[in-house]
Subunit: 339 residues, 2 copies
């Protein structure tokens, strides 16, 4: 199921998707109404338990196998001076992930989640997309397939994140390609470029949009021409999670931009996804609005690495603990609402 | 230190407060700058670690002893039909807390926090404050002192929450008394009153403001006349936490209204406090703005019981795990920012 041999096959997969499990979600709602609290008073925590059951098709839902997938890639566009950090940081940070020293290692532990890091040909950066498509069709499909293969079919929840110096430029280019508005609307400071760097980023995005104008109508071509390997892998992983009916937490701007082409092909293809947070990266809030995703957290984070998604896992665990552990009105002999 | 014999003594305590520990906070900032992430990229998580050290006076800060204090009280104003639930639910829910069946029991466990529930004379509701002050000075000071005595001086973090049928009416009355705007601005649906109930609540608040107009200039008299025992206990607990320099997480609208009189006396008296969340209760967002508190979470919760504060403890644990567990640029041999 994981590999995609052509864009047509990939596109077809986006349109043949399993239904959500309304029955399990209804069981959540029925139990929720009996628990010792005013109806709806746990707010989004109640929504989250409902959502877990809706996709897992199980009541109560469970969070025994939570997987955090981080994909890493390198970007030819870094030659244009769009990042505050040198490109070699990508491979150094992958080593840091493997040695347990990064933020996501601490957060995955706190969330009791398994961290899987996949580096995609870090020694072969994608092409500078101001000059040529970032990836040709074969390279794009290969990265999508790597992402799809990283999904464990029996995971209870998947979090998707990334690492790649230069990739907020790719994310902004994809967002601009799909939704319009140009570099000025979508570029942000990423890891921390100064004003001159931000202006360069905007120009780079506008140059890329001009060069690839002919393919902006096709979301998958946008993903190939303006994206990167780690973004393509996230797209593949998200689609595989949808096909396996696994609930999905998206991390920040880059992860959201990576799955945006899926949503443009078929809004139903990302219906199993929640935005874990809205990041401080300028374009993220616009992009979430465009995709009708309402973020769970707003903590001014902008690290990537699935860090925001890992924090949101804590909310899911809290929600599930209430749903499964609380007493009912009858059990606790608490009087229910008047009249 | 816990007991207050007069309003003058209580007021005096609000004006003689220890300083925060700038040195420990500076140590946090120094280490934070060396960790393998762009500066500031963990957003509010970084702020939270800084804040813990600032009040604990310790680097690294710790979260070994997290206490969740829930105070419960009954309200004479329930006679006016301001709640969707009968008043006996307060005592029933206290039993539910003791038996481990409420939301806060599950959330306290998830947050690895100790839950302490204090019921304040549930068989003696406060007076209906449309007719008389809710509490006289002695009853108010007694409840404040009970709250202050509930603080463990060696706690690393305290969360404050409440249970009390009718207490969103008391909270709205306090907010209106301190900040103006009347019942229409501050009343919300609480546990779920219908439109007629909401209108009654607004009128009840306006009647109380008219009756007690002469004392609205004195924040402590507002707390006594328009509050309730559990709100007074929260005020006392918050002041004691401030005097012991313990970081404080406030739960929702009622807990925030309970400490608002302290803030009106001296803004510095709540400087150790973070708002854990903004609740769905209508007045909470206005009140947080009036107190210049920026909530950590916005999850549409409106349960009380310190439930929002308990969820926010999870954020603090995540923040601290990153601060203490991450590798530095030097340790991980990751290249730092260019130029």
């Amino acid at each position: 199921m994981a590999g995609f041999a052509s864009l047509a096959e990939l596109q077809d997969a986006c349109h043949h998707l399993p239904k959500a499990h309304a029955g399990a979600a209804e069981q959540v709602a029925r139990r929720e109404a009996t628990l010792t609290k005013p109806p709806g008073s746990l707010g989004r925590l109640e929504e989250l338990t409902h959502w877990l059951a809706l996709w897992q098709g199980r009541h109560p839902p469970r969070l025994d196998r939570v997987e955090i997938l981080v994909f890493a890639g390198n970007h030819g566009v870094t030659a244009q001076g769009v990042s505050a950090y040198p490109a070699e940081v990508t491979v150094q940070m992958v080593a840091n992930f493997e040695n347990g020293g990064a933020a996501i290692n601490q957060l995955a532990k706190a969330a009791d989640a398994k961290l899987k890091v996949t580096a995609l040909k870090l020694d072969q950066p994608t092409a500078d997309f101001t000059q040529a498509p970032a990836m040709d069709e074969a390279a794009f499909l290969e990265a999508v397939s790597v992402g799809a293969a990283a999904i464990s079919p029996d995971a209870d929840l998947v979090c998707l994140g990334e690492m790649g110096i230069g990739n907020t430029t790719a994310a902004a280019a994809i967002a601009a390609g799909l939704f319009g508005g140009g570099g000025a609307r979508w570029a942000g400071r990423g890891t921390g470029v100064d004003h001159a760097g931000l202006t360069r980023k905007q120009h780079v995005i506008d140059a890329a949009l001009a060069r690839h104008a002919a393919m902006l109508d096709d979301p998958l071509l946008v993903a190939a021409a303006l994206g990167g390997r780690e973004l393509a892998a996230i797209l593949g992983a998200a689609l595989a999670a949808r096909r396996h009916s696994i609930p999905l937490l998206l991390d920040g701007f880059v992860a959201t931009a990576a799955i945006a082409p899926l949503a443009r092909l078929n809004a139903d293809a990302i219906r199993n996804a929640h935005a874990a947070h809205v990041s401080a990266e300028a374009g993220h809030r616009h992009l979430l609005e465009a995709l009708q995703l309402s973020p769970l957290l707003d903590l001014n984070m902008r690290l990537g690495e699935a860090s925001g998604a890992a924090v949101a896992v804590l909310l899911l665990r809290a929600a599930l603990a209430c749903h499964t552990g609380m007493a009912t009105f009858a059990e606790a002999q608490v009087s229910n609402k008047k009249g």
